[in-house]
């Protein structure tokens, strides 16, 4: 129930990877036939990834994961030697985007962080208004990893295009859950992470539209057309390719199944407990994302009790040494104090069932009641 954090690798994916650890262990840069098997595997994976998002194979750059893809996209379009440049992003991006922007800020670039509304949708007027002559890039995530809100990417793409600005989207959470087609979305760059879609950790990809010129951030033997040096993680990339194929093949059925579970889970929790709110957009949300806040109780405590029942979830609440911190996403949604520390993200996977949903609802009910009994804030 924490599939937005990571997913188990699909057995079919593991099977696809295994030969590349042993019999076909070659280095794709080698001239000999062992190397050519690796080069062919790489080419096939590139086709699989490209096909799944409606791109051409030459537009796919393999990386070590979603974080590196985001770094490469954002820092790649910034000519390092050029003058001051301006980037627009949103306040609810993943740290891979936010901290890359913060780094660029420390190097003298300007960053505008566009706010979102109470449902987590980016403010398009503010976005438009923040465009400057020296804006090089807009980076707005396709769907948020915490509250699941899906952004109007097509509209942002239109704005970017009209103003001749590169547009990057972090699609780490949407691939395999909603249709992701680079032309329909109209993006110039798009980040993918393998381990979020039943592929292996340590692999990712960045789509870079033909004509979009980027600079590498890792230097060496000029792999990936010079854009990402380092001996390619062949088994990992083969796994990513297979996972992308499976994800796009099963997208219709998987998404429908997850959405049914999602909607049932939400409505049944609301039936079972008072003082609950749904964070994120009611309909423009990932089919597998449930993000709820429970009044009077705190996130980590709920998480721990669910864990003891074998249910893995995550929370936007972190108790650091001095005080409790809500995640930057929940803070951006301007949740009331009463709700902000009691959030839980339940992210469903294709392998979950309605029985799992039953068990989660029952467990949640028991746990929240138990914690509310302990809470000085509730009257129970």
């Amino acid at each position: 129930m924490d599939h937005s954090a990571t997913t188990p690798v699909d057995p079919l994916v593991v099977d696809a990877m295994l030969p590349y650890f042993s019999e076909m262990f070659g280095n794709s840069s080698s001239l000999h036939s062992f190397g050519m098997e690796a080069a062919e595997a790489l080419a096939r994976a590139r086709e699989q990834v490209a096909e799944a998002i409606g791109a051409s194979p030459e537009e796919i750059i393999f990386t070590s994961g979603g974080t590196e893809s985001d770094n490469l996209a954002i820092r790649g379009v910034i000519p390092h030697d050029a003058g001051k440049k301006h980037i627009i992003t949103s306040v609810i991006e993943h740290p891979a985007v936010l901290n890359t922007c913060a780094f660029l800020e420390s190097m003298g670039h300007d960053i505008t962080y566009v706010p979102v509304d109470a449902d987590g949708i980016i403010d398009l007027q503010e976005l438009k208004g923040s465009i400057r002559d020296d804006t090089v890039l807009i980076s707005v995530m396709h769907a948020n990893n915490e509250v699941g809100t899906i952004q109007p990417i097509e509209e942002i793409a239109k704005i970017a295009k009209e103003n001749d600005i590169y547009f990057h989207t972090d699609a780490v959470q949407t691939v395999g859950k909603v249709p992701v087609n680079v032309d329909d979305l109209g993006v110039d760059m798009l980040s993918i992470s393998s381990h979020k879609i039943h592929g292996p950790k340590g692999a990712g990809a960045l789509y870079v539209r033909k004509g979009t010129v980027i600079e590498p951030i890792v230097f060496g033997g000029n792999h990936e057309r010079g854009l990402r040096s380092g001996t390619e993680n062949i088994p990992g990339i083969v796994g990513l390719g297979k996972a992308m194929s499976l994800a796009s093949e099963l997208l219709g059925t998987d998404a429908k199944h997850m959405q049914e579970m999602r909607d049932s889970l939400i409505s049944r929790v609301f039936d079972a407990l008072p003082d609950v709110r749904l964070n994120g957009h009611p309909t423009q949300r990932l089919p597998n994302n449930v993000n709820l806040s429970f009044k009077y109780v705190e996130g980590e405590s709920m998480l721990m009790m669910l864990d003891m029942k074998g249910i893995a979830v995550s929370t936007g609440s972190a108790c650091s040494s001095k005080s409790m911190n809500a995640s930057h996403v929940l803070t951006s949604l301007k949740l009331e104090d009463d709700y902000i520390h009691g959030s839980l993200r339940i992210s469903l996977g294709k392998e979950n069932t309605m029985e799992d949903v039953d068990y989660v609802v029952e467990s949640l009910k028991e746990i929240v009641l138990k914690l509310r009994e302990m809470s000085p804030l509730s009257n129970s």
Partner: protein
């Protein structure tokens, strides 16, 4: 991450509740900060005969609240005032790095409760 003792204390907390006719009450924290701990005590002959807590907060807040009430119960108020962070840490088998400061909150609430009692009985 958390020691077995923390998990045990958290799952089966002792002395949950509010003493209606308490002799002293201490409350600390706010929903803005996060943790809120409320401790109420019943005192007889300067001995803490009963003690209860209600806590809104994380695993550490809840388990230290429970541990503090266990440690204080049956103690003379002056002894109880001398309870230190180390006593709580020992009772819980330690806390993960970066979280040991939280443990102070429950002790603070206990002290406020005792002071409230002492104030009322001056």
């Amino acid at each position: 991450m958390y020691s077995k003792k923390v998990i045990e204390e958290f799952s089966n907390p002792h002395n949950v509740g509010v003493i209606e006719d308490a002799d002293g009450v201490g409350e600390i924290g706010s929903t803005v900060d996060g943790d809120i701990i409320n401790i109420s005590i019943k005192v007889k002959d300067d001995v803490i005969e009963d003690i209860k807590f209600k806590t809104f907060g994380c695993v550490v807040a809840i388990s230290t609240s429970s541990a503090v009430t266990r440690l204080a119960k049956g103690k003379n108020v002056d002894e109880a005032l001398e309870l230190a962070n180390e006593d709580v840490l020992e009772a819980l088998g330690g806390l993960p790095e970066g979280k040991d400061k939280c443990s102070g909150f429950a002790l603070d609430a206990l002290k406020l409760a005792i002071e409230d009692y002492q104030e009322k009985n001056k």
